[in-house]
């Protein structure tokens, strides 16, 4: 084990950084996608709701490894052959971010939709009958209550997304699993390498969980 750390410690530490970078980018864009589609899912307009359902069904219905192949190879292929832009390519970080954002976005959309719908309908009706416009009622009355129920599930989704970055090792992104495979291939020390990789994931996820707990405490104002 010491041998791996002394020869490959720096490489693995950098891979840990790459995992964090990919997870942060994926979560940032995933949250935006989730928010947009989650709100589409609760709107009165039937077309908006249909868009949310179709998006969520497609993304949730495709394993992320397959999605990664489509994004990494398929998008540049499509741009080249359909749009005719020959110089377009996606690197592994860009493709990985798109995959993670789409995937976590779909799950986040459902969490947000469910969170908003879990607030009793009477809350909205009461706010409206007091003369608040729809969006104002949503913002001031419904969302604050919804967010509190959503937080633990969203944190859970964040952790899942962080671990899902490992799937992007298949498109050659140098995150922890991709780098771990390399270290195993060079040293043939499988168990030791994966132990180090597991500890590194654990560290990242524990930090994320602690931060999430802080956030949760700040948002639950009624406690």
């Amino acid at each position: 084990m010491g041998q791996i750390i002394s020869s490959y410690g720096w490489l693995l530490a950098r891979a840990m950084g790459q995992t964090c970078l990919l997870a942060l980018l994926g979560l940032f864009f995933g949250s935006i996608i989730g928010l947009v589609f989650g709100i589409l899912g609760v709107l009165q307009n039937r077309v908006c709701r249909a868009i949310e359902v179709v998006f969520v069904d497609i993304i949730r219905g495709i394993p992320m490894m397959v999605l990664a192949m489509f994004v990494f190879f398929g998008i540049p292929y499509g741009v080249k052959n359909i749009l005719g832009v020959s110089s377009f390519t996606l690197n592994a970080l860009q493709a990985g971010t798109i995959c993670l954002a789409l995937n976590s976005g779909a799950y986040m959309a459902e969490i947000i939709r469910a969170g908003i719908q879990s607030v009793d309908r009477g809350q909205m009706e009461a706010a409206r009958s007091l003369g608040l416009p729809y969006w104002r009622a949503m913002q001031r009355v419904v969302l604050p209550q919804a967010v509190r129920t959503m937080i633990p599930t969203i944190v859970n989704q964040f952790i899942i997304t962080l671990k899902d970055t490992s799937i992007l090792s298949v498109i050659g992104f140098p995150e922890l699993v991709n780098t771990g495979k390399n270290v195993v291939a060079n040293t043939f020390m499988s168990l030791q390498t994966w132990f180090i990789v597991a500890v590194m994931y654990l560290i990242i996820i524990l930090i994320l969980s602690k931060l999430a707990k802080l956030l949760e405490r700040r948002l639950s104002y009624d406690r």
Binding site: Q3, F72, F73, P76, Y77, K80, T89, L90, N91, A92, S169, V170, I171, G172, F173, P174, N178, K181, N182, V184, A185, N186, T187, F188, M189, S190, L191, W194
Partner: protein
């Protein structure tokens, strides 16, 4: 999957140079075995954990692997590695790789070759799990070049009609592939393998197997 060393053919049979060599050696030495295709990463772990007695997976014999306690047989295959680019690429040599991305396959001699050139020529390396994905990164333009064993690259370009081209003068010295075991208790298996390998080399079976896959 590591064509043409081990892969599933059109009939769904598990075949390849490694598979056929092992079968011929076992027949010659009169031992039986179970062969499981578990993939590169799992094969290493399975040997380490004692779930498998040995692995034959186009694994290069390197000092670094030996230092981790692995025991290798005599080399059963030796090939040079080369750089391959898209058929219409302008890249004529390593000097054109500066700032570009190059694809390699995890754990291969091609990867080691690329790593040895990386700093001198200033390119980035991405590590893929299998050959088809690696070739696709080059045909798709996500990487400008890949590194592969020369005979395999030549055979794949021919059989798959790939729009790729081997860069002239990009070959290295090459390194041997060996059958590997993790525990000293398996020394007997290594001895059997070496004896069988020697005998199929002498009786021509070895050449037949290689010819069947590499043409």
């Amino acid at each position: 999957m590591f064509k043409p060393f081990e892969y599933t053919d059109d009939n769904g049979d598990f075949v390849g140079i490694d598979v056929d060599l092992l079968a011929a050696i076992a027949e010659d030495q009169g031992f039986t075995y179970d062969l499981n295709s578990v993939g590169w990463d799992s094969a290493i772990a399975a040997c380490q954990a004692g779930q498998a007695d040995g692995m034959i997976a186009g694994a290069s014999i390197t000092d670094e692997r030996r230092a981790s306690g692995w025991i290798f047989s005599d080399g059963y295959y030796q090939a040079t590695q080369c750089m391959t680019v898209a058929a219409d690429s302008d890249i004529a040599g390593f000097g054109d790789l500066a700032g570009k991305t190059v694809a390699v396959k995890t754990g291969t001699q091609g990867a080691a070759y690329a790593e040895s050139l990386k700093d001198e020529y200033g390119f980035d390396i991405v590590y893929m799990d299998d050959s088809p994905t690696m070739y696709q990164t080059v045909t798709g333009g996500q990487a400008v070049a890949c590194f592969e064993d020369t005979p395999i690259m030549a055979a794949s370009i021919k059989s798959g009609d790939l729009p790729l081209r081997i860069v002239e003068g990009s070959e290295n010295e090459g390194a041997p592939y060996g059958f590997a075991v993790f525990s000293a208790d398996e020394q007997e298996l290594i001895d059997l393998f070496n004896a069988g390998l020697k005998s199929i080399r002498e009786n021509g079976v070895y050449d037949e197997i290689l010819a069947a896959y590499l043409g």
